[in-house]
């Protein structure tokens, strides 16, 4: 189920990134970030669900628990993606303001 969702997200973001409009590319970029984060999440084995907390009075956990590390990684990745997407939004907005162009092909002529 999760992997199908990751696949759909990747497909949608790549479709959007191949479009002409810079705004659609932007939406594609943010979807791509979500897709990658979910991918990392699913690659680390989400079937182990119990929280990784040692019960009181015991020395170690006795049953399989969720691995907290990928979630910490994803948390970092989300922050980074968020920052970069915000920068990209401002960049696209400024590009539109100064060049008046929203189309990638006519942007190529402005280099």
């Amino acid at each position: 189920m999760l992997s199908a969702l990751v696949g759909v997200l990747f497909a949608a973001s790549i479709y959007l990134m191949l479009r002409h409009s810079t705004v659609k590319i932007l939406i594609g970029l943010s979807l791509l970030g979500h897709a990658a984060n979910l991918f990392v999440f699913s690659a680390a084995g989400p079937h182990r669900r119990d929280p990784p907390v040692i019960p009181s009075g015991e020395e170690a956990v006795s049953h399989p628990v969720a691995d907290p590390l990928p979630q910490a990684l994803i948390l970092t990745a989300i922050v980074i993606t968020f920052a970069v997407v915000v920068f990209a939004v401002v960049l696209v907005h400024r590009t539109h303001q100064t060049t008046g162009v929203r189309d990638v092909d006519s942007l190529a002529k402005r280099e």
Partner: protein, 499 residues
């Protein structure tokens, strides 16, 4: 805890924070950046010296037992490149303080350069995959802003492509790292090297390897992923273009070498034909793209791509000689390429343009600046006794010994075409008569703070060529250290158990 390993990352970050605090006083910002860059250069030379004498330096941040926790490791390769990054950073900071306009400096150019340096040093010194990703992002975000800073239409158009494609590469990198973690349960280089040398993980390990290599290939502008580079590198001020040319793609190549030697050396050797093909195609497309251009900056941007091909050729050859050659070529490029961009900056300062049809007569009017273009240009083309000659000699000999005839002959042919490009610039911009005729205004004085760093970087390419023997020996040592991943793992684990 060995502080020397952390200083090259911490120092520029502190300087950047301090710089942003003084954002109303560009003058103080500039002083902070200068001071920090001098200190960084000193610290990184000390790091290189210590690593050369004592071997690997390992620092654990926090008291986590190995293989958990964040570890910084400086081996010979990291130390060499950190040293090059720091020295180049110092030259660019001095150059930028004289050449970049007031408005851009007021928007925090100097602190951003420090963030970029911190990111690059972080990538070079970190010892686990996820931190590699994080430091790459730090470096990229700083470069995004530096590229767009100033907001001219061409800069914004270039930055849009640069940001989009680099974001895509970062996503691939993250996916590759996620897969590696899912398959092996660890991300530290040392632990990965140990695990992967004894067992082969089930599942799509080669997919993970391909994702990592593709992501790093985009970041280092290898064929067929290089299109973002010529579309954006000619737009920012020359000082920034020089910094990007010397740092960003080179750090990508470093990460590629590091991942290949630590994670999948056998797989990479099995795929050496593919790597050699990518290397040859990168050289050829880069140099042919440059031949079609008529602007100094654009020509040089395409040559960055073609030079990356030589480093990949070293990776394809593998072994101490191949990887050592790649490392030497990295160092050569971190001097020659920025020197070329800095000299274009001098030309632009004088004439206000770098389009070849507007230039001419520079050799007579600006003899010093012309010489400072000619030296790195000939070095790039590979003429003795400059660094490019030594780098190509090492690589070509290793390629012939390794039996990679095709890519070696491509490398030699591309060398000739590089010489053609450089001569094209030289003849048109420097030797032909001035197209403005006799009524041209007298040449503008170039500030000494622009000429001095340019001369220093150009002298570095001469020094690398003249001192090729000891430098190459150092590079071979670095490559031997890279190939012995068991010793690396042992050193890191031993440092973990030490306290």
């Amino acid at each position: 805890m060995n502080a020397l390993v952390v200083i090259p990352v911490a120092l520029p970050l502190v300087a950047a924070a301090a710089g942003f605090l003084f954002h109303r006083w560009p003058r103080i910002q500039e002083r902070i950046a200068l001071g920090a860059s001098v200190a960084l250069a000193g610290a990184s030379c000390a790091l290189l010296w210590v690593v050369r004498r004592e071997g690997l330096l390992v620092t654990r941040l926090g008291a986590w037992p190995m293989p958990h926790g964040v570890v910084f490791v400086a081996d010979l390769l990291s130390a060499l490149l950190v040293c090059a990054v720091a020295l180049l950073g110092l030259a660019v900071v001095i150059y930028a303080s004289a050449s970049v306009g007031k408005r851009r400096r007021a928007f925090g150019l100097h602190p951003l350069v420090q963030v970029l340096l911190a990111g690059a040093c972080g990538v070079l010194l970190t010892a686990d995959l996820f931190n590699l990703f994080v430091w790459f992002e730090v470096m990229l975000i700083a470069s995004f802003v530096l590229l767009a800073l100033g907001g001219t239409p061409s800069q914004l158009a270039g930055a849009t492509k640069y940001v989009t494609l680099n974001l895509l590469a970062s996503t691939f990198l993250l996916c590759g790292i996620g897969l590696v973690y899912g398959l092996t349960g660890t991300l530290s280089y040392a632990d990965l090297a140990r695990t992967l040398s004894s067992t082969r993980p089930d599942g799509p390990f080669s997919a993970a390897a391909f994702l990592l290599m593709a992501a790093l290939a985009i970041k280092s502008a290898a064929f067929p992923f290089f299109f973002w580079l010529p579309a954006s590198y000619h737009t920012p001020p020359p000082a920034m273009a020089a910094l990007f040319a010397g740092l960003l793609t080179k750090v990508g190549v470093y990460a590629m070498i590091r991942c290949a030697t630590m994670l999948f050396p056998e797989e990479l050797q099995r795929a050496s034909v593919l790597v050699a093909f990518v290397a040859g195609a990168t050289m050829l497309t880069g140099v042919l793209g440059a031949a079609a251009q008529k602007d100094m900056r654009r020509i040089l941007s395409f040559h960055i791509v073609s030079q990356i091909g030589y480093m990949l050729m070293g990776v394809a050859i593998w072994g101490v000689r191949g990887l050592g050659g790649a490392v030497f070529f990295l160092l050569h490029n971190m001097a020659a390429k920025p020197a070329l961009f800095l000299s274009v900056g001098v030309v632009e300062h004088d004439r206000g343009s770098s389009a070849l049809h507007t230039l001419g007569g520079l050799a007579r009017q600006r003899p010093v600046a012309s010489l400072l273009f000619l030296v790195p240009a000939l070095s790039l083309a590979g003429l003795p006794p400059l660094s490019g000659f030594a780098g190509k000699l090492v690589l070509v000999r290793a390629g012939l010994d390794g039996g990679l005839w095709l890519v070696t002959s491509v490398a030699l042919a591309v060398s000739l075409l590089t010489l053609y490009s450089m001569i094209k610039i030289w003849l048109k911009a420097f030797w032909s008569p001035d197209p403005r005729g006799d009524d041209a205004p007298p040449p503008r004085d170039t500030p000494r703070r622009m000429i001095a760093p340019l001369a220093a970087v150009a002298a570095a390419t001469v020094a690398l060529g003249v001192l090729a023997e000891p430098v190459a020996a150092l590079c071979f040592d670095a490559a031997a250290q890279l190939l012995d991943r068991e010793a690396y793992a042992q050193a890191v684990f031993a440092a973990g158990e030490g306290r």
